[in-house]
Symmetry: C2
Subunit: 273 residues, 2 copies
């Protein structure tokens, strides 16, 4: 078998901030041989309240930055950017790009028995109806109920994930959804897995909670195999972290999420790309 | 008396987003003859969790943009940018620039009887200790207690200002401060006046609540008089609004704050400046 030349090149993973680390963590677990360059756009976080034009522009800048790191593939670990920018950047860049929406939708379609699926996400993700469209392509008779939960991201970012107040905010946003007969719900924002146990408690066993990160890593694995660019060097993987702001705060947060010591994150000026 | 040539030129007012409209509102009230060009950096909001370097860079870009509108003076209607960037940009630009910290500190120093002053603000504003330094310059024996309240901005932005949950968040952040014997508290973020009645209820009559917007408009008035650039044309004032993202959402919010029909806000790409 011919040795692939790109194998040792890293995977580029990006998000608006720290949330995408939940996806990076899943890639580290499932593809422990792959090098990763992570970028968190902490200068412009959050993306969920911003417009499609800006999300596309931000995504282009980040992909151009990641290309300077010679990445062999890119994972958009942000639901908002996947929902609003993936189709556009896939056409513009000559590199495999994986988003989180299609994997999340597929996992939900596989899990649901009654075809009724809930999606919690940012305002931009829900308004785009991308999950609804993708789910219907896979299962036309499915019914999808979306709900924007804009306070979830700041609650996580400000360390309130385990606070009583978060229970109340979950109830404010999701009480209507709990009254429906959905049997599956997608955590449609990469921050939300950090609220997973609370949301599972809230819905009880009746509702299967889908975290798209797991399926996204599986998709990435398939893409690497298909293009013959998986890392087979046998060397241990290295992880690099870049942010557009507040590198120290990011590194601190990263250490609470990753099974890996993030000693340093480097700050770059993303507007230059 | 010689007619000033710059009189009819507008005042540039900027903020990270909608919060600065509380300052613009005060300028409209106190200086009804002045034209205003407002810029809200909605593509990069919030500023409060970001680094000094980026806040300075953002402020420079915005001032360069406002200069293209031929403004005669600039008001930094954002506490975070006033705390971290005012000194730097004042030296770099040849135009009068007024921030909100000095006026807010002065109002608090005038109001306090026991010299004990609380400041609620963003993480960046409180960490900078700018309020403490400025207050001590005015009243060296004053003691200042700062408290970052990072969830206040998203609560306001997401329409929870009057929700019960906001009471609980106020209690989480400010219960320690309420136990002290401060007699004056500064609302050290331009979003916080939108929570003013809640915060006043929480502290009761014992504590005088300072909103720097009022004093900022007074400072601006003094600067215009000093430099002989007040508008004496007698024409009715015009207001223009620019944002870096989501112009419609901004206009909707602006209409809930301003005694003026914001029919349109224009979106520009601030990174080009």
């Amino acid at each position: 078998m011919e040795m692939n030349s790109k194998g040792t090149a890293p995977i580029g993973v990006f998000d608006s901030g720290v949330g995408g680390l939940t996806v990076a963590r899943e890639i580290m677990r499932q593809l422990p041989q792959e090098n990763i360059v992570y970028f968190g756009d902490t200068a412009r976080v959050p993306y969920g309240s911003k417009s499609k034009d800006n999300i596309i522009r931000f995504s282009r800048q980040i992909i151009r930055f990641l290309e300077t790191k010679d990445v062999k593939a890119i994972v958009i670990a942000c639901n908002t950017a996947s929902a609003l920018a993936l189709d556009t950047v896939k056409e513009e860049f000559d590199i495999p790009i994986v988003g989180v929406i299609v994997p999340g939708a597929r996992a939900a379609v596989q899990a649901t028995k009654n075809g009724k699926i809930g999606v919690a996400g940012t305002e931009a993700t829900i308004r785009s109806e991308t999950y609804t469209k993708v789910i219907r392509q896979m299962k036309p008779e499915a019914s999808v109920i979306g709900k924007p939960c804009p306070l979830f991201v700041p609650l996580v970012e400000e360390g309130f994930a385990k606070h009583k107040i978060t229970e109340e905010v979950i109830d404010i946003y999701l009480s209507d959804m709990r009254k429906t007969d959905i049997d599956t719900m997608i955590l449609g924002c990469t921050h939300y897995p950090l609220l997973r146990s609370r949301i599972m408690e809230y819905f009880g066993e009746r509702v299967h909670i889908v975290n798209p990160a797991y399926e996204t890593a599986m998709d990435l694995k398939a893409v690497l195999a298909e293009q013959n660019i998986a890392n087979e060097s046998g060397e241990s993987a290295t992880y690099e972290f870049y942010v557009s702001d507040a590198a120290e705060k990011f590194a601190h947060f990263a250490n609470t999420i990753l099974p890996y010591d993030v000693t340093a994150a480097k700050q770059i000026n993303i507007e230059e790309y």
